[in-house]
Symmetry: D2
Subunit: 100 residues, 4 copies
């Protein structure tokens, strides 16, 4: 056990695999919840509020994944790989901004 494992700093968007999976399960539940609202003819504005909440939750998942990519795949890549990894990361951010 080294110093780092004792006092790992809590960082903004960093998420462990377990945290990511927990968030995704919660999002799956939210999507099912919206199906119920639509099936019950709930007021469209309330359904839209839930859709926006899921989008925000997915953004957090995306930031957690990007953060992991930056910290490992980019920063720790061998020199000749860094270029490619960075380009992939930017393309991914571009897709997120344009949403798909």
């Amino acid at each position: 056990m080294n110093a780092e494992s004792i006092a790992a700093p809590v960082r903004g968007y960093t998420a462990s695999k377990d945290q990511l999976l927990a968030r995704l399960r919660r999002i799956e539940g939210q999507v099912r919840g919206i199906q119920g609202m639509v099936a019950d003819d709930r007021y469209c504005i309330d359904v839209l509020t839930q859709v926006a909440a899921i989008q925000a939750a997915l953004d957090k998942v995306a930031l957690g994944l990007l953060d992991g990519h930056a910290r490992t795949c980019v920063v720790e890549a061998r020199s000749e790989e860094k270029e490619k990894r960075t380009a992939e990361m930017m393309a991914a951010v571009g897709r997120l901004l344009r949403r798909g």
Copy 2:
């Protein structure tokens, strides 16, 4: 019965309740798919591409709901209600733009 009720035009974002539910079930499946990718340690960029695809699918759901809201709750509302309905719709669009 008039011509329009016989052959309702297929319009941009308009979605029937069944179509909305079908889209939401597909989105639920996509969210589960991402859980599998994370569990299997798939390459983060590939997972991010799937997240962006879900965001795009949710945007389509949101536009279908907004369209329904505009066509029924706003346009067909009684005069004194139109103001309130329009304000609600704009607030919903604002939440979608800010994503939550």
Copy 3:
């Protein structure tokens, strides 16, 4: 002078033409400000913060325009026009969500 001009409700996103123009002039100034930051080699993260601020300001302009469209072009359109106006409005929201 009628009752409405005495007590016009302050509404969420509604903006007068003068307010829209004032906001757009401020945004123009912000864009020029960013040019100065880039020319002076200011730290990229600080420039990005300004870009995000302009995006937020443009979203507010867009919501003001949409609100005006909904209140006048859609709600007050003749029956046979409402359909077309609503479809145009949804297409515009779609472009804003996908950003262009």
Copy 4:
């Protein structure tokens, strides 16, 4: 050694300072163009289309800046700085996704 390794390849989002400045001047012109449209009472949907075009152009500027940040400030930072730079970059992406 081939021509390409001599002349750095044009990469996805990478933009030189001159390119960034040229894009920002074009965006400034677009913002002024919208002021003219609003002043002339042009159809709101046409103005909204222009707003979405500016958002897309700003996204490209943001991706160019992020790319530069990743390639220099993050990848080339000293080991103890990389963590901080990556966290700043993620916070910036988060602000762009939430738009401000």
